[in-house]
């Protein structure tokens, strides 16, 4: 089996697996990285949303063979030594989560949105976040948390890399 090398949460990893194995299962079943969740496997729920080279993507849809040499970040790699990412802080401050199953994906989608658009309007949030389902119905709080995170990012001295 071929070895696939890529960066995962800032660390180089090498995985021996078939090239067509979706990255979600490489993460969860081979590497034991369980933050990205299975919700549908076909890219319609967003529960596995993570970052590929800084952009939000669906690991359930991307074979590991496509990932070689690229940089993957999951929810586990969002906080750094200095503490939680402002989006995570905002999620706690707004008490967003209910069951929590979709939230790693929601947070990663929000981080990617804010990197592109530091001051999103409600319409921008609707456009960027509507591919992530929350069955518990936390959308109103997610929206508030994104606005709060935008404020934190603007006021923060150091803009996180990720």
């Amino acid at each position: 089996m071929p070895a696939h090398q890529f960066m995962l949460n800032g660390q180089p990893v090498s995985v021996e697996s078939p090239a067509d194995l979706p990255l979600l299962w490489v993460l969860r079943d081979v590497l034991g990285v369980t933050g990205p969740k299975y919700g549908c496997g076909v890219g319609v729920c967003g529960a596995c949303t993570s970052h590929l080279d800084g952009e939000a993507f669906r690991p359930c849809l991307h074979p590991v063979g496509e990932i070689a040499g690229r940089e993957v970040r999951t929810i586990e790699g969002l906080a750094d030594a200095t503490g939680l990412h402002p989006v995570q802080q905002a999620w706690i401050a707004e008490d967003v989560a209910q069951c929590g199953f979709c939230q790693p994906g929601q947070i990663m989608a929000a981080v990617a949105l804010l990197r592109k658009n530091p001051q999103p309007t409600d319409a921008d949030i609707d456009a960027a976040m509507s591919d992530n389902v929350c069955r518990c119905g936390t959308y109103v709080r997610i929206r508030s948390a994104i606005h709060r995170a935008a404020l934190l990012l603007r006021s923060g001295a150091s803009l996180p890399e990720r």
Binding site: W25, D126, Y139, R141
Partner: protein, 718 residues
Amino acid sequence: MADMRPTDSAPPGGLDRRRFLTWLVASPTLMIAARWGLDLPSAQAAEAPALEETALNLYVAVRTDGRIVATLPRTEMGQGITTAVAMLVAEELDAGLDAVDVSTADADPRWLIQLTGLSSTMRYLAGPLRAAAAEARARLVTAAAHRWRVLALTLTTAQGEVRAPDGRRLGYGELAEDAARVLLPEVSPLPKSPSEYTVVGQPTGRVDARAIVTGEARFTLDLDIPGAVPTVVARPPTLRGTVQSFNASTARAMPGVVGVVQLPSGVAVAAQTFAQAFAARDALQVTWAPGPASHLSDADIRARLRDAIGPRPLPPLLTTRVVEGRFDFPYLAHAPMETQSCVARVTGDVAEVWSGVQDPKFARSQVAAALGWALTPQRVTVHPIRAGGGFGRRFFTEAAVEAALISRSLGQPVKLMWSRNDEMRHGHYRPASHHRILASLGPGGSILGWHHRAAIPTVEFPHGFGDLLTSLLGQALPDVTSAVFFALTQHVPYQFGWVAQELAEVPLPIPTASFRSVFTSQVGVANEVFVDQLARELQRDPVELRRSRLTSRRLKAVLDRVVLEGAWGRALPPGVAQGVAVLEEWDSAIAHLVEVDVTSGTPRVLRVVIAADVGLPINPKGIEAQLQGAALDAMSTTLSAGLHIDAGAVREGSFADYRWLRMKHAPASIQVHLVRSDDRVGGVGELGYPSAAAALTNAIARATGTMPTRFPILDEGA
């Protein structure tokens, strides 16, 4: 084993005359158990039995490191009970919220009620929790008094310490062993009065928020059980179809495949990764026998339900006009984000399962029966795990049964995951229904009668519902049937003359389950929509009509509150309208005001204003979250999410066609205002669904001039 001084204490508020007991459990460190005393003899009973033999509700323990652990037989599925329980314990013990751990108990017959549902967790456990924690505090204080040789009454507690007037302090951890040997508390072991609360009632963030936002929170399939192989199941196209024959030779030869196992429900494939298991599943050649509902499609089901309505009853005397409303509701999937899943390890004559179950004792008996151990269920250990949403689906435990059978067959642990298709197409569903409401009007706009007949397929209630209802209602209800549950829960809170509500139970071979608010999600919604229709017929304002007929002071108060906060009747542009609705259930009352915009052709909810009287609000932030979530639940299923049945198969397979609302459909705000009429603890989990659905429907009716009668409204074929 136990010290024999049960404390007989009435719950704060004094509204509930039932009592509960607390007792010290023999343990190296302080441990207090508690239970409702519904069927107990006098509290002066000479001896309490040992923990292993005693039926109980929960226990609270203090460890030598100062951690306080509350162990209870309930599952966290997102409803926030972990936080609310920690708050009650921290309050009574005068400890920091972060010093309290809440632990979910394994399945065990000792737990009086081990079922998470019916909006009952806090209603049922707040009393025993307060009593146990207050008793623990009293013993910690007494232990400190003995250590310091001072009067216990002179001591105080704060921040997890006992404090003396001279400034001496001892942390609870340092007292945990001594307190376990205190025979008689020397200060009051009674809970605080709600007026003294400093933690309970404060809006408090989830205690597990950090674990969730960092990805550390573990769900069933995130557990690291050594050697557990990913497993999926090929399932029939129809509901409860069966395997006629299959050929697994191609599948077995595929990369990573560990084994193939035939089950009553399909054919399981285990592999090194879930992707390989899915690929091998797809390579199976299976001939399926159709399931028992394969002669049924939507049109047949609707006809069966309509036929069950029967002829009109005679209206009351003096009736001058009868107004009729008919409503159709669809089958609904619970569709939790986390699909059904279970890790199982069956070795020799014991089994261990990990799963997000709402009824662990039922899971245990089901797994035991499947393994041929019906008479020795103690061979099965069930660990309830944090669940990614439940909503009633996890009362049923097919995944646990399947995983146990596969593990035994393969001789190794398995982690079984249902696909999203499996979840949608092989669930237990909120049944479809058809309703006829007849309002009898008399001279001068009087309302002489209200007759609601609901045709609903039989709902399969979980195993533990009878015990729970018996405890909640104080009357023995060993078997809960659809008819019993309907009669217990369905009420019309208006003076509408002669009121009757009847259930026509229609047995259909489609699996069913309770869903958030159970029958009220249909009967209660239809009633509140038809109240608006009645207002139109009588040319009265819907709020004014409700106010004039409501029989509940609490409902009037919450209705008045949304009218005020939501500015009922304010000027709105054409195509934008407001709707209201109310509900009283499980000791709580709620009103919704919804504003909707129909100018684009597709209704868009602009804002929702909620007023709720849940009695004592333990965690207002958590209550707000539940009510906001229930509003989204109601909006989704009222507008766009509903199932279709085609020849015994469920058409919808994922969130692509089961159109749950997305961020772009969510209103700008969902405000929650709490009204507190007394200090009873009311139910919250289901409260927010029915009147949200009805208020939205009423707003659409007012905006379009047409009352929607088929749900989901945006389904052309509904």
